[in-house]
Symmetry: C2
Subunit: 129 residues, 2 copies
Protein backbone atom coordinates (compact mmCIF):
# COMPACT_ATOMS: atom_id res chain seq x y z
CA UNK A 1 0.00 0.00 0.00
CA UNK A 2 1.32 3.41 -0.96
CA UNK A 3 0.96 6.44 1.27
CA UNK A 4 -2.01 7.76 -0.67
CA UNK A 5 -4.02 4.65 -0.02
CA UNK A 6 -3.04 4.54 3.64
CA UNK A 7 -4.04 8.17 3.82
CA UNK A 8 -7.46 7.42 2.39
CA UNK A 9 -8.03 4.35 4.47
CA UNK A 10 -6.92 5.98 7.71
CA UNK A 11 -8.48 9.36 7.03
CA UNK A 12 -5.21 11.15 7.80
CA UNK A 13 -3.45 13.39 5.29
CA UNK A 14 -0.28 11.90 3.85
CA UNK A 15 1.66 14.86 5.20
CA UNK A 16 0.74 13.86 8.71
CA UNK A 17 1.79 10.26 8.16
CA UNK A 18 5.19 11.45 6.94
CA UNK A 19 5.38 13.79 9.90
CA UNK A 20 4.63 10.98 12.35
CA UNK A 21 7.31 8.84 10.75
CA UNK A 22 9.82 11.69 10.90
CA UNK A 23 9.04 12.15 14.58
CA UNK A 24 9.33 8.56 15.65
CA UNK A 25 5.66 7.70 16.06
CA UNK A 26 5.84 5.31 13.14
CA UNK A 27 8.63 2.96 12.09
CA UNK A 28 10.55 4.01 9.01
CA UNK A 29 8.43 2.77 6.18
CA UNK A 30 9.71 0.06 3.87
CA UNK A 31 10.44 1.46 0.42
CA UNK A 32 9.50 0.20 -2.98
CA UNK A 33 12.33 0.20 -5.56
CA UNK A 34 11.18 3.61 -6.75
CA UNK A 35 11.54 5.06 -3.27
CA UNK A 36 7.83 5.20 -2.49
CA UNK A 37 6.77 4.21 1.02
CA UNK A 38 5.19 0.77 1.10
CA UNK A 39 2.82 -0.03 3.96
CA UNK A 40 0.99 -3.10 5.06
CA UNK A 41 -2.49 -3.10 6.52
CA UNK A 42 -1.30 -3.14 10.14
CA UNK A 43 -0.40 0.53 9.78
CA UNK A 44 -4.04 1.47 9.85
CA UNK A 45 -4.36 -0.03 13.31
CA UNK A 46 -1.21 1.68 14.41
CA UNK A 47 -2.53 5.04 13.27
CA UNK A 48 -5.73 4.37 15.15
CA UNK A 49 -3.76 3.63 18.29
CA UNK A 50 -2.01 6.96 17.89
CA UNK A 51 -5.34 8.73 17.53
CA UNK A 52 -6.64 6.92 20.58
CA UNK A 53 -3.61 7.90 22.63
CA UNK A 54 -3.92 11.53 21.49
CA UNK A 55 -7.57 11.58 22.51
CA UNK A 56 -6.56 10.29 25.96
CA UNK A 57 -4.29 13.29 26.36
CA UNK A 58 -0.92 11.85 25.38
CA UNK A 59 1.38 14.19 23.51
CA UNK A 60 3.07 13.01 20.33
CA UNK A 61 6.32 12.84 22.25
CA UNK A 62 4.80 10.59 24.89
CA UNK A 63 3.32 8.39 22.20
CA UNK A 64 6.66 8.16 20.41
CA UNK A 65 8.29 6.99 23.63
CA UNK A 66 5.53 4.50 24.26
CA UNK A 67 5.34 2.98 20.78
CA UNK A 68 8.90 2.19 19.76
CA UNK A 69 9.69 2.89 16.16
CA UNK A 70 11.03 -0.62 15.55
CA UNK A 71 8.24 -2.53 13.92
CA UNK A 72 8.79 -5.72 15.82
CA UNK A 73 9.43 -4.22 19.23
CA UNK A 74 6.13 -3.90 21.00
CA UNK A 75 5.54 -2.18 24.35
CA UNK A 76 4.71 -4.48 27.24
CA UNK A 77 1.40 -4.32 29.01
CA UNK A 78 3.24 -2.92 32.01
CA UNK A 79 4.71 -0.08 30.02
CA UNK A 80 1.30 0.88 28.74
CA UNK A 81 -0.42 0.39 32.08
CA UNK A 82 2.05 2.55 33.90
CA UNK A 83 1.75 5.28 31.27
CA UNK A 84 -2.01 5.18 31.68
CA UNK A 85 -1.68 5.31 35.45
CA UNK A 86 0.64 8.28 35.26
CA UNK A 87 -1.75 10.04 32.91
CA UNK A 88 -4.53 9.40 35.40
CA UNK A 89 -2.47 11.05 38.12
CA UNK A 90 -1.79 14.03 35.86
CA UNK A 91 -5.51 14.42 35.30
CA UNK A 92 -6.13 14.41 39.04
CA UNK A 93 -3.53 17.11 39.49
CA UNK A 94 -5.10 19.13 36.73
CA UNK A 95 -8.54 18.73 38.29
CA UNK A 96 -7.22 19.83 41.67
CA UNK A 97 -5.96 23.03 40.10
CA UNK A 98 -9.29 23.64 38.43
CA UNK A 99 -11.07 23.09 41.73
CA UNK A 100 -8.86 25.61 43.43
CA UNK A 101 -9.42 28.18 40.70
CA UNK A 102 -13.13 27.49 40.85
CA UNK A 103 -13.12 28.16 44.59
CA UNK A 104 -11.28 31.44 44.08
CA UNK A 105 -13.73 32.54 41.40
CA UNK A 106 -16.64 31.66 43.66
CA UNK A 107 -15.07 33.72 46.42
CA UNK A 108 -14.74 36.65 44.04
CA UNK A 109 -18.35 36.22 43.00
CA UNK A 110 -19.58 36.19 46.58
CA UNK A 111 -17.52 39.27 47.25
CA UNK A 112 -19.11 41.04 44.28
CA UNK A 113 -22.57 40.16 45.50
CA UNK A 114 -21.82 41.48 48.96
CA UNK A 115 -20.80 44.85 47.54
CA UNK A 116 -23.19 47.80 47.24
CA UNK A 117 -24.56 48.30 43.77
CA UNK A 118 -22.42 51.26 42.81
CA UNK A 119 -19.13 49.84 44.01
CA UNK A 120 -16.22 50.02 41.63
CA UNK A 121 -14.64 46.67 40.82
CA UNK A 122 -11.31 48.34 40.60
CA UNK A 123 -11.36 48.66 44.36
CA UNK A 124 -10.95 44.92 44.45
CA UNK A 125 -7.24 45.55 44.16
CA UNK A 126 -6.97 45.34 47.95
CA UNK A 127 -8.82 42.05 48.07
CA UNK A 128 -6.98 38.75 47.87
CA UNK A 129 -8.63 35.70 46.42
Amino acid sequence: MKIGELSERSGLPASRIRFYEANGLLPEAARAPNGYRDYDASMIGRLRIIDLAKSLGFSLEEIANLLPAQVDLKPSCETVSSALTRKLAAIETHMDKLRETRARIEAALHFMQSQPDGAEPRDMSDVRF
Copy 2:
Protein backbone atom coordinates in the same frame (compact mmCIF):
# COMPACT_ATOMS: atom_id res chain seq x y z
CA MET B 1 4.93 58.78 37.78
CA LYS B 2 7.04 57.60 34.84
CA ILE B 3 6.92 54.06 33.55
CA GLY B 4 10.11 53.11 35.35
CA GLU B 5 8.65 53.98 38.73
CA LEU B 6 5.37 52.23 37.95
CA SER B 7 7.43 49.25 36.89
CA GLU B 8 9.27 49.19 40.19
CA ARG B 9 6.20 49.76 42.31
CA SER B 10 4.13 47.15 40.50
CA GLY B 11 6.90 44.63 40.03
CA LEU B 12 6.19 44.33 36.32
CA PRO B 13 8.79 45.09 33.66
CA ALA B 14 8.14 48.32 31.76
CA SER B 15 8.02 46.31 28.57
CA ARG B 16 4.99 44.46 29.84
CA ILE B 17 3.21 47.67 30.84
CA ARG B 18 3.73 49.05 27.33
CA PHE B 19 2.55 45.74 25.91
CA TYR B 20 -0.62 45.85 28.00
CA GLU B 21 -1.33 49.39 26.85
CA ALA B 22 -0.75 48.47 23.22
CA ASN B 23 -3.14 45.56 23.62
CA GLY B 24 -5.98 47.45 25.25
CA LEU B 25 -5.59 46.24 28.81
CA LEU B 26 -4.60 49.67 29.99
CA PRO B 27 -5.89 53.08 28.91
CA GLU B 28 -3.54 55.09 26.76
CA ALA B 29 -1.26 56.74 29.25
CA ALA B 30 -1.22 60.49 29.61
CA ARG B 31 1.99 61.97 28.25
CA ALA B 32 4.41 64.44 29.71
CA PRO B 33 5.55 67.25 27.38
CA ASN B 34 8.58 65.18 26.41
CA GLY B 35 6.35 62.28 25.37
CA TYR B 36 7.02 60.13 28.42
CA ARG B 37 4.09 58.19 29.84
CA ASP B 38 2.76 59.78 33.01
CA TYR B 39 0.87 57.55 35.43
CA ASP B 40 -0.99 58.15 38.65
CA ALA B 41 -1.02 55.76 41.58
CA SER B 42 -4.29 54.09 40.57
CA MET B 43 -2.44 52.23 37.84
CA ILE B 44 -0.83 50.02 40.43
CA GLY B 45 -4.24 48.78 41.48
CA ARG B 46 -5.24 48.29 37.90
CA LEU B 47 -2.18 46.19 37.23
CA ARG B 48 -2.99 44.11 40.28
CA ILE B 49 -6.51 43.53 38.99
CA ILE B 50 -5.02 42.31 35.73
CA ASP B 51 -2.77 39.90 37.60
CA LEU B 52 -5.71 38.68 39.62
CA ALA B 53 -7.82 38.10 36.52
CA LYS B 54 -4.95 36.26 34.83
CA SER B 55 -4.59 34.01 37.86
CA LEU B 56 -8.31 33.21 37.65
CA GLY B 57 -7.81 31.99 34.11
CA PHE B 58 -8.80 35.01 32.07
CA SER B 59 -6.78 35.55 28.92
CA LEU B 60 -5.37 38.99 28.18
CA GLU B 61 -8.00 39.36 25.47
CA GLU B 62 -10.81 38.61 27.90
CA ILE B 63 -9.37 41.08 30.38
CA ALA B 64 -9.11 43.75 27.71
CA ASN B 65 -12.79 43.29 26.91
CA LEU B 66 -13.70 43.39 30.57
CA LEU B 67 -11.67 46.42 31.60
CA PRO B 68 -12.43 49.11 29.05
CA ALA B 69 -9.46 51.15 28.03
CA GLN B 70 -11.16 54.47 28.80
CA VAL B 71 -9.91 55.56 32.19
CA ASP B 72 -13.24 56.81 33.48
CA LEU B 73 -15.40 54.00 32.13
CA LYS B 74 -15.55 51.28 34.72
CA PRO B 75 -17.14 47.88 34.27
CA SER B 76 -20.33 47.36 36.25
CA CYS B 77 -20.58 44.74 38.94
CA GLU B 78 -22.89 42.87 36.63
CA THR B 79 -20.35 42.79 33.84
CA VAL B 80 -17.74 41.39 36.16
CA SER B 81 -20.14 38.99 37.85
CA SER B 82 -21.32 37.57 34.59
CA ALA B 83 -17.75 37.18 33.35
CA LEU B 84 -16.93 35.30 36.55
CA THR B 85 -20.03 33.15 36.17
CA ARG B 86 -19.14 32.34 32.57
CA LYS B 87 -15.61 31.43 33.63
CA LEU B 88 -17.07 29.17 36.26
CA ALA B 89 -19.16 27.43 33.62
CA ALA B 90 -16.08 27.06 31.40
CA ILE B 91 -14.26 25.41 34.28
CA GLU B 92 -17.15 22.99 34.80
CA THR B 93 -17.07 22.13 31.11
CA HIS B 94 -13.35 21.59 31.30
CA MET B 95 -13.73 19.38 34.35
CA ASP B 96 -16.43 17.36 32.63
CA LYS B 97 -14.04 16.69 29.78
CA LEU B 98 -11.33 15.64 32.20
CA ARG B 99 -13.76 13.32 33.96
CA GLU B 100 -14.69 11.74 30.67
CA THR B 101 -11.06 11.29 29.69
CA ARG B 102 -10.34 9.86 33.10
CA ALA B 103 -13.13 7.33 32.67
CA ARG B 104 -11.80 6.32 29.27
CA ILE B 105 -8.29 5.88 30.65
CA GLU B 106 -9.66 3.79 33.49
CA ALA B 107 -11.51 1.65 30.98
CA ALA B 108 -8.31 1.19 29.00
CA LEU B 109 -6.48 0.27 32.19
CA HIS B 110 -9.07 -2.33 33.16
CA PHE B 111 -8.91 -3.70 29.66
CA MET B 112 -5.12 -4.05 29.92
CA GLN B 113 -5.44 -5.86 33.23
CA SER B 114 -7.96 -8.28 31.78
CA GLN B 115 -5.58 -9.21 28.97
CA PRO B 116 -3.26 -12.21 29.13
CA ASP B 117 0.32 -11.30 29.93
CA GLY B 118 1.72 -11.68 26.46
CA ALA B 119 -1.01 -9.73 24.67
CA GLU B 120 0.10 -7.11 22.23
CA PRO B 121 -1.22 -3.64 22.95
CA ARG B 122 -1.30 -2.92 19.27
CA ASP B 123 -4.28 -5.22 19.06
CA MET B 124 -6.18 -2.60 20.98
CA SER B 125 -6.92 -1.01 17.64
CA ASP B 126 -10.25 -2.83 17.54
CA VAL B 127 -11.21 -1.64 20.96
CA ARG B 128 -13.10 1.60 21.47
CA PHE B 129 -12.68 3.60 24.66
